[in-house]
C-alpha cells in the first residue's frame, strides 16, 4: 500500500487519540472547578458525552457534515457512513460522496474517528458551563442534538465544502467550528437555565470556589497535551514542516497566555491566581487553534498574550452581567474562539507553513480576510445560538432542564445519581 497512506493514517489516528484523551482533561477541569456535591454529576456528564457524540455522529452527524450536498448541509451518504467512498484513494481516483475530505490520504474510518473526536470536544464544552444545576437527562438530550445537527451543520459550512469554505473562511483546527460552537450552545443553555442558587443575591455576587485544584491542574495539562493532537493533527497529513510549525505556534501561544493571564490576575487581585493561570493556558490554546498553521511563531506570541488578558477580563465581565458560568467555559471557548478566528484575519502570513492563505491585515493583506473571518464568526454565532436556544427551550418545556431547588442545595450527586463522589471524606457543608 502507498507508504504515504500508512504514515498519514498513523498520524491521524495517533493525534485523534490525543484529542479523544482531552475528554479526560475536560472532565477534570470541570469537576475541579465545581463543588464536591456535584462532582459525580459532572463526571457522569463528561464521561457519557463522548458515548453520545460517538453515536450521534455515527448515525447522522458525519453525513450532514461531510456528505456531498449544498452550501448548507450534506445530503448524501447521511446515515452510518454508508455512502460509497473509496478512500484512501484521492484526487481523480476518488469515487464517493464525501468529497470534501477526498484530499486526505487515509481510510474512511480514520477520517471518521478523527472528526468524531472533534465533535465530542464541542459537546463536552457545554457541560462545564451548565454545571451544578442542569438535569442529567436534559444535558444528554441536548448533547445528542448538538452532535447530530448543530455541530455538523457548522462543520459543513467551514470544513465540509459549505458556503463559508467557499468564500475563503479559514479556521484551521476549529476556534470557531469546535470552540465557539460549544461556547454559543453553552451560552444559550445558561440563559435558559439561570444562575446557580445563591450565586447572585441581592445585587451581590457570591463566589463559589471549585473543590480541587489538583484535579483542575491534571485536566489542564491533559488538555494542553491533547492540543498537540488537536492542532497539528488537523493537517490530516503527515506534512513535516506544517506539523512542526503548528506544534511550536500552539505551544508558544499557550506559554504567553499563561504568563499574561497570571500577570493580569496578579494586578487585579494582588496575588497570582492558579485558576486564572489554568484558564489562561486554555484561552491561549483556543485562540491559536484557528491560526496555528497560518501565522508565524512571533505572531503566536502576541495572540497568546491577548488571549490571556481577554480571558481574565471576560470572566469578570460575565459575572458582572450575571451570566453564571461555573468553569469559565464562555471566556475560554466562546470569547477566545472568536478572537482566534479573527486573529487569522489580522496575523495570517501567506504560506508560512506551506498553506496558501493570503496575508492578514498586519502583513499588508488589507481587511479582505478579516471581513470574511468576521462574517464567519457572526453567521456561525447567530445560527448556533438560535438553534441551541430552540433546542434548550424545547427540552425545558418538555422534561425540564433544571433540577429542583432542594436537589440543587443538597447536590446533584444525590438527586440525580444517588451517589456521592467522596463518601469517606469529611466535606464542609455549603450553605447555598
Amino acid at each position: 500500500m502507498d507508504i504515504q497512506v500508512i504514515i498519514n493514517t498513523i498520524w491521524v489516528l495517533v493525534t485523534a487519540k490525543l484529542v479523544f484523551f482531552m475528554n479526560l482533561g475536560f472532565a477534570m477541569v470541570e469537576s475541579g472547578f465545581t463543588r464536591t456535591k456535584n462532582t459525580t454529576n459532572i463526571l457522569s456528564k463528561n464521561f457519557i458525552v463522548f458515548a453520545i457524540a460517538s453515536l450521534a455522529y455515527l448515525f447522522l452527524g458525519w453525513g450532514l457534515m461531510f456528505g456531498d450536498g449544498n452550501g448548507f448541509i450534506g445530503l448524501k451518504g447521511l446515515f452510518l457512513l454508508q455512502g460509497p467512498d473509496n478512500s484512501p484513494l484521492t484526487g481523480n481516483d476518488y469515487r464517493g460522496v464525501y468529497s470534501a475530505l477526498s484530499w486526505v490520504k487515509v481510510p474512511l474510518y480514520a477520517k471518521f474517528f478523527f472528526q468524531l473526536a472533534f465533535c465530542g470536544t464541542a459537546a463536552t464544552i457545554v457541560s462545564g458551563a451548565v454545571a451544578e444545576r442542569i438535569k442529567y437527562l436534559s444535558f444528554i438530550i441536548f448533547s445528542f442534538l448538538m452532535c447530530m445537527f448543530i455541530y455538523p451543520v457548522v462543520g459543513h459550512w467551514v470544513w465540509g465544502g459549505g458556503w463559508l469554505a467557499k468564500i475563503g473562511m479559514l479556521d484551521f483546527a476549529g476556534s470557531t467550528v469546535v470552540h465557539s460552537v460549544g461556547g454559543w450552545a453553552a451560552l444559550a443553555g445558561i440563559l435558559l437555565l439561570g444562575p446557580r442558587f445563591g450565586k447572585y443575591e441581592n445585587g451581590k455576587t457570591n463566589i463559589i470556589p471549585g473543590h480541587s485544584l489538583p484535579l483542575a491542574t491534571i485536566g489542564t495539562f491533559v488538555l494542553w497535551f491533547g492540543w498537540f493532537g488537536f492542532n497539528p493533527g488537523s493537517t490530516m497529513t503527515a506534512d513535516p514542516v506544517a506539523i512542526s510549525h503548528i506544534v511550536v505556534t500552539t505551544n508558544t501561544a499557550a506559554a504567553t497566555s499563561i504568563i499574561s493571564s497570571t500577570i493580569t490576575s496578579y494586578i487585579l487581585l494582588g496575588k497570582p491566581d492558579l485558576g486564572m493561570t489554568l484558564n489562561g493556558c486554555l484561552a491561549g490554546l483556543v485562540a491559536i487553534t484557528a491560526p496555528c498553521a497560518f501565522v508565524t511563531v512571533g505572531a503566536s506570541i502576541f495572540i497568546g498574550i491577548i488571549a490571556g488578558i481577554l480571558v481574565v477580563l471576560s470572566v469578570l465581565f460575565f459575572d458582572k452581567i450575571k451570566i453564571d458560568d461555573p468553569v469559565g467555559a464562555l471566556s475560554v471557548h466562546l470569547i477566545n474562539g472568536i478572537f482566534g478566528t479573527i486573529s487569522v484575519g489580522l496575523f495570517a502570513k501567506d504560506k508560512i507553513a506551506g498553506i496558501s492563505t493570503g496575508n492578514g491585515l498586519f502583513y499588508g493583506g488589507g481587511v479582505k480576510l478579516l471581513k470574511i473571518q468576521l462574517l464567519g464568526v457572526v453567521s456561525v454565532g447567530i445560527f448556533v445560538f438560535t438553534l441551541s436556544l430552540i433546542f434548550w427551550y424545547f427540552i425545558k418545556k418538555t422534561i425540564g432542564i433544571r433540577v429542583s431547588l432542594r436537589e440543587e442545595i443538597e447536590g446533584l450527586d444525590i438527586g440525580e445519581h444517588g451517589n456521592i463522589a467522596y463518601p469517606e471524606f469529611y466535606i464542609k457543608k455549603t450553605y447555598f
Binding site: I414, H417, G418, N419, Y426, K428, K429
Partner: protein, 112 residues
Amino acid sequence: MKKIEAIIRPEFLLKIKKELEKIGHFGLTITDVEGCGKQGGIIRNWRGEKYKVEFVEKVKLEIIAKDIDVEKIVKIIINTARTGEIGDGKIFILPVESVIRIRTGEEGDAAI
C-alpha cells in the same frame, strides 16, 4: 453563663449566624457531626446496588451566652432551623462555671 449546644441541619447555619448578629451576638463555634435519631439513615447507590448510610450529617453549634441571652438565642435557633420534618435537631443547655478570653485574660460575662 450557659452553653447552648444545637444540633441542626447544615443548610441553616449561615441564616442562624445572620440572625444572631442582628441581636448583637457574634461568638460561636461549629463542629461537623453526624447523628441519628428518629430520622432514619439515607439510601445511596453504589455500582448497581442500594445501601443505607446510618448517620445523617448535621452541624453542632456551640454558643456560650449570658444567662439573660439564652432564651433569645434559643428562640432564634428554633425559628430559623425548623422545617417541621423529622431531623430538625435538638438544643441542649448546659451550665458553665467560667469563661476566659485567652487574648486578654478577661473572665466571666466580659469574656463572652
